[in-house]
């Protein structure tokens, strides 16, 4: 009897679970009850992975929306529009730049959420965090190397026609350190202005122990200046609520409020869920890689362009080449590699065609970099996909490849008859678009006789290999973000020998160890061009300098660019919100509506009917 009862109870339990579940659905449908009404809420995906750790802007990697270039809680002085190349006003306006000083005027209407005015004191405080405290996050710590002094001056406010006073802030370029006004421009967007009157007392309470302060989560009603503030969070989502007294509504946006009252970032555990949720309209905007996006157009999913390449190119995934290893140190060998790869195949098969045609060099022939790109140079010096040329280059350099009777590469020997060791392309395992690019590149290079293989490793080993140069070739996406310092920063990041160190020691840029300043082939022109460009104010001169640098890149091939990808994937659903910025309606750059200059989209979105 007991036995029967246990079974009956069990079956009842299972039925109960199913029954309760279905009932839960009915209940919710009947009441339509959620804590955040759908018509007032925007759902965003893809900028927060894993559970939120902290909302302290002085931590190294706080959770969304405090990290990166998010303008929702803490705001920078200006934001960069990746479409126009302009710095747009946020906390400050009226940008003036010379090689020595960068100046802005602070918006005198800016206010903190507790009603305290946001003044130049907050700006100076934020810019000096790196100087005053050890172990500040990188964007604050790096200020010291580029800005030697921040001075404030009272000027007539141009916004009120000079009737009132405003604070003009001068950022003096640090001539003794890096002497680079371009990065000072970057920092206008990178350094979030923090409330001195709220953060300084907290630090003092902790005896100015910065590491102790970094353990504060600042998740309870923080003092912010942005249009939203933290409402609640869990390991499943982060919820922001609109601040109706946001200063910028009146000062910047024509006395309007952002359309969505709630801003929710659900935290999913795999890429596919973002794609499904976007398709079902449960997500309004996503920043994840979704293959074959054109198949989702029927489900109201849109992108910047309606047709290929769907996204605006903004960064360049490439393979770094280790110059300290043989035969990669051989120029002909590198050029042969660049000529062996079928870039069209990479574009079509690895990244769903989300890239326009790639041209040789490290400057993009599109967007704001276009004016620095020369098609003539690319034709003359650049390596294009050409297997005959690749084989010829290898032959001329004395390399011989032995194939078996099925045409598979057996081994490769160099001019001295010695076997060339099999090269590996280090790439994180499981990053599917990179894996696909690597596989195609390997297939193509082996076909012309280069003995190379895929080296998929754990992400932890990848991050270790990168700074210490422990790789033959390595997949990398340098500086994906759109900034005013591009394309200089990209060229600098790949080619600068400022901190050249041998393999095994940390390098934060040029991890391929190109152009050893102590080597016999040292090309002084590279470093002097990299030093000169940030100070050139004349466009014609600038174009000349960039062309010269790009030609050196094409001749030396210090890395192998594979495709162009967008700065951020920007995909939206028109099921609940419409009027997204697109190619036909480019009122904002192709960035999600919280990121850099994309934030202004929040005031223009319309509820779908």
């Amino acid at each position: 009897m007991l036995f029967r009862n246990v079974f009956k109870i069990t079956v009842l339990c299972v039925l109960c679970i199913v029954g309760l579940g279905c009932n839960g659905k009915k209940q919710q449908a009947q009441n339509g009850a959620t804590d955040f009404p759908r018509e007032k809420t925007i759902y965003l995906g893809g900028d927060q992975w894993g559970e939120p750790n902290t909302f302290n802007p002085l931590c190294d990697w706080p959770a969304w929306p405090v990290h990166g270039k998010t303008d929702l809680l803490y705001e920078p002085l200006m934001v960069f529009n990746s479409l126009t190349g302009d710095m747009e006003p946020l906390l400050a306006h009226s940008l003036e730049k010379t090689p020595d000083v960068i100046s802005v005027i602070l918006n005198s209407r800016a206010k903190w959420s507790d009603g305290v005015p946001l003044t130049a004191e907050d700006v100076v405080f934020s810019y000096e965090i790196g100087k005053n405290y050890k172990n500040a996050p990188m964007n604050y710590a790096a200020v010291v190397d580029f800005v030697s002094d921040v001075t404030v001056e009272k000027v007539p406010d141009p916004l009120t026609g000079g009737k009132t006073q405003a604070e003009k802030i001068h950022f003096v370029v640090n001539k003794k350190a890096r002497n680079n006004p371009l990065i000072v421009l970057d920092q206008l967007q990178d350094v979030r202005i923090l409330p001195k009157h709220s953060i300084e007392p907290m630090l003092q309470k902790l005896n100015n122990d910065f590491t102790a302060f970094q353990k504060e989560k600042l998740d309870k009603d923080p003092v912010v200046s942005g249009p939203y503030n933290l409402d609640s969070y869990s390991s499943e989502k982060i919820v922001l609520k609109r601040r109706d007294d946001y200063w910028g509504n009146v000062a910047l946006r024509g006395n309007r409020k952002p359309a969505p009252e709630y801003f929710i970032h659900p935290i999913y555990k795999s890429n596919d869920h973002f794609s499904v949720a976007l398709q079902q309209g449960n997500l309004d905007v996503s920043m994840t890689y979704i293959p074959r996006i054109w198949m989702k157009a029927k489900d109201n999913v849109g992108t910047w362009y309606k047709r290929a390449p769907y996204f605006v190119p903004g960064c360049m995934p490439l393979m770094l080449i280790n110059f300290t290893r043989y035969p990669l140190s051989d120029k002909n060998f590198r050029l042969a590699m660049a000529s062996a790869i079928n870039y069209t195949e990479i574009k079509d098969l690895a990244i769903s065609g989300y890239t326009p045609e790639i041209k040789p060099g490290l400057i993009m022939p599109y967007g704001i970099e276009k004016k620095f790109f020369s098609d003539e140079d690319a034709q003359k010096y650049g390596a294009h996909f050409d297997t005959v040329a690749a084989k010829r280059l290898l032959r001329e350099a004395g390399f011989k490849s032995i194939f078996d009777k099925d045409g598979n590469l057996v081994q490769m020997t160099d001019a001295k008859g010695k076997k060339v060791p099999t090269l590996l392309i280090t790439s994180p395992a499981g990053w599917s678009d990179w894996e696909a690019m690597v596989k195609i590149a390997v297939k193509d290079m082996r076909a012309v006789g280069i003995d190379i293989r895929e080296g998929f490793v754990d992400a932890s080993l990848y991050w270790q290999a990168l700074p210490f140069g422990k790789f033959d070739l390595l997949m990398y996406k340098p500086l994906p973000e759109a900034t005013p310092s591009k394309p200089w920063s990209q060229l600098d990041h790949i080619m600068s020998s400022r901190n050249w160190k041998p393999e095994g020691e940390r390098m934060n840029e040029n991890q391929g160890r190109y152009n050893n300043p102590k080597g016999k082939n040292y090309n002084r022109a590279v470093d002097s061009l990299l030093l000169a460009i940030p100070h050139i104010m004349d466009d014609a001169e600038l174009i000349k300098a960039y062309r010269a640098l790009n030609v050196i890149f094409m001749q030396d091939q210090p890395a192998l660019p594979l495709a162009y990808l967008p700065e951020q994937f920007y995909e939206f659903s028109t099921k609940h919100w419409t009027n997204w910025a697109t190619e036909d309606n480019p009122y904002a750059p192709p960035q999600p509506p919280f990121y850099a200059a994309g934030i202004k989209m929040l005031w223009e979105l319309k509820r779908a009917k």
Partner: protein
């Protein structure tokens, strides 16, 4: 001492062995992640990014110090060797610190989710994992065993239909089955939600609506586990029972004309013993096995934390999670060991209980 209390002696010796196993497991769990060549602080620095070499160096020292991975001098500065590399704290010294802190109940701060405490991460995630897996495993175990026994006893049409079904369920990997469920019932005919543990527009609270939403989101992940487990258990039980049916005691009981359900019960009891061990094992791997279900359904739980901890060499979180897995495996096995001690006459006889 326990000569006159064989049961107590049995429990104590078993307990002793389990404690020893526990110590060995904790030691291995501590040293294994540290054997690899990669180093968590390098991953952190890569994540922090940056253009300033001074700042990078400062940050490296600060994290090494904070996580107790480098030796410091009296004034709190990180010691550096001749090659200017920080002097690493030896693994044994770290082990000492870890044991000392664990005994105080402090599992440390996660490297990757800095400054979150490991206990905090585990505390919010584990209830979801247990709430999903425990009912699924237990209910599937009971239903599967009963159906398996019935199939073996009744044979005929019931068995002919049921056995292939169970075999089919058992041979589908449960991640594939989960994906199939999501695709069919979540996307193609969206009857059930495909994603999450509760509606995205709700915050956790003690309300009927929230509870209803949780139950609604529970069905697909629950079914993906329940159906597969049931199939597996039923197949095991069916063959055990067929074996038992051929034994003398069953034949004898049948000749005596004992009622069908009574015979079934006798047989069930004996056939169940290996199944019980199986249950202990599946309860034990519950936490480790949660990952796939979580990834398929984006369901809250500890599995994802374990995965990213391992990928990022987040030592404290790896230690915290493996400690949890170790403890749950051992407790489940210990409980079953004790239960078998009472249920299995052979074990009883072995320790001299009449």
């Amino acid at each position: 001492m326990f000569r006159n209390h064989p049961t107590a002696r049995y429990i104590l010796t078993r307990g002793g062995w389990y404690f020893l196993t526990f110590l060995v497991a904790v030691t291995i769990n501590f040293f294994l992640p540290r054997l690899g060549p990669s180093n968590p602080v390098d991953i952190i620095l890569a994540k922090a990014g940056g253009v300033s070499d001074n700042a990078t160096r400062q940050k490296e020292e600060s994290y090494l110090k904070e996580f107790g991975l480098a030796e410091v001098d009296k004034s709190g500065n990180v010691l550096r060797d001749a090659k200017d590399a920080p002097v690493r704290t030896s693994a044994w010294k770290q082990f000492g610190n870890y044991i000392f802190m664990s005994l105080k109940g402090d599992l440390g701060t996660s490297f990757m989710s800095y400054p979150k405490k490991v206990t905090e991460i585990i505390k919010t995630a584990v209830p979801w994992t247990i709430a999903l897996q425990l009912p699924a495993i237990l209910l599937a175990w009971i239903v599967g065993n009963v159906l398996g026994a019935l199939a073996a006893y009744r044979r005929g049409i019931f068995d002919k239909v049921f056995f292939p079904l169970a075999l089919g369920a058992n041979s589908i990997p449960f991640f594939a089955f989960g994906m199939l469920l999501v695709y069919l019932l979540g996307i193609l005919w969206p009857i059930f939600p495909a994603v999450g543990g509760y509606d995205g527009g709700l915050n956790p609270s003690f309300s009927l609506i929230f509870f209803g939403s949780v139950m609604y989101h529970y069905i697909l992940p629950f079914m993906s586990l329940f159906i597969i487990f049931t199939g597996g258990q039923a197949i095991g039980m069916r063959s055990m029972c067929i074996y038992e049916l051929g034994t003398d005691y069953v034949k004898y009981a049948k000749w005596l004309g004992i009622s069908e359900s009574k015979v079934l019960f006798y047989m069930f009891r004996n056939a169940m013993l290996p199944q019980l061990t199986g249950l202990a094992l599946s309860l034990g791997v519950m936490i480790g096995g949660a990952l796939i279900t979580e990834m398929i359904f984006s369901y809250p739980g500890i599995g994802m934390a374990v995965l990213s901890a391992i990928q990022n060499n987040d030592y404290p979180l790896i230690q915290g999670c493996t400690l949890l897995i170790t403890v749950s495996v051992l407790i489940a096995n210990f409980t079953v060991d004790i239960l078998i001690g009472f249920l299995d006459p052979r074990v009883k006889a072995g320790r001299g209980v009449k």
